[in-house]
Amino acid sequence: MTLVNDVPFDRRERGTRKAERQPGGAKDTPTYYGHPALKAAPWGWLVWSYIFVAGTAGAAQVIGTAAQLSGREDLKPVRDNGRIIGMLGALAGAPLLIADLHTPKRFYNMLRIFRSTSPMSIGTFTLLSFSGFTGLTVLPQALRRLFPFWRGKKAVETVADVAQFPAAVAGLGMTSYTAALLSATSSPLWAAAPKELGGRFAASSVASGAAALALVEELNDRPANARLLGKLALVATAANLVFSRLSRLKYRERKVEAAIDADPATATAYRAATVIGVGVPLFCLGVSLLSGRHSRRLSLTASLATLAGGLLMRKAVMQAGENSANNSAISLTFAREDGGRGELPPGARPLIPAEDGTRRRRLH
């Protein structure tokens, strides 16, 4: 057992630093020695990776459904690969989430209740239904592999085609509920722009889903399909750009922007995510489209950049949100207007300089 006196001096020394006010927020917001007024989410790479995986898998199933609806024979591979990507995402998603729990053996307690105010609960059941329906959609492909001479595949195929629609609905949820998960917290950066974050995650997810599918089509020498998916990725990336700009404006307005630049890692990740996930694909796909000729190299670059950028964006948003919670200047400034405070009692009002040089409390 360690007693206080047994603690090595250097370890005690580390605690011997006064918390200091960090940059950000409004200058006239006092803080309590700069000590965090909120607690940051205790999540790591497992969660931001999951957000990316869930979004990509969900979007792949949505796009696959669009391919199925078109009834085009040449788009059948897109439908089938959408199903596979969806399944891979579902298979990876659950372990990522369970591994992130701090008492993983009790993961099943998530299924005890459903709570509509909790995106974590909404997400549990979204993932569950997405996995179930996606499982049905991949049955024909799995059976074809496992039992080549088995007849009665027709019935299974009908089941898969029907299950495709609920899988797509759950897939839509997978692209977006994670934005609600972050927004419905008190971490200022996440709470500052819920709508913009929703649009951003959804658009980025569809771009990633289209990019993943385009990658597969390109590698299987179906350039026409890859080109079609590239167009979809372009539209989705443009939407992502719009929502990113809008959220940036919101962050500035709500004075939480400093959380992005709070540490070099986050600042770099945030910028890199925009350059790689938005800039590079827009350039590659744009050039390819305008030139009228399909370039395999540009298509592959765009797909890989979209995927990498999507992953990086989730990481950057996650870190920036945690920074904003740890910075009391930002969080206390944010919470000053957040609740629509109305009239503050005199004691709670800021001090203002009086003519005689002293500072007095504003009376109204």
Binding site: M1, T2, L3, V4, H102, T103, P104, K105
Partner: protein
Amino acid sequence: MREMTGIITVVQEGRFRLVADDGRSTLFVLSPSARLEPQDLTGLQQAERRVTVRYRDDRGRIAGLAHDIVPPRSGPTRSQAAA
């Protein structure tokens, strides 16, 4: 992993106090990997039976992190048996 043998005297949620055979009392926190659950601790406390706690130091806090609670590894000392 270290061991301490004694009687569990107080239980709160997943935390418990163990009075060791030498009379010193130590606070433990139940690790999530332990086979026991917080709700099992009350039973042990009420039974007042000697147990051995296998633990590590809980970093940054003055408590042990209990990984397992097992039947006592050693008998009571002679003076205790006499008492």
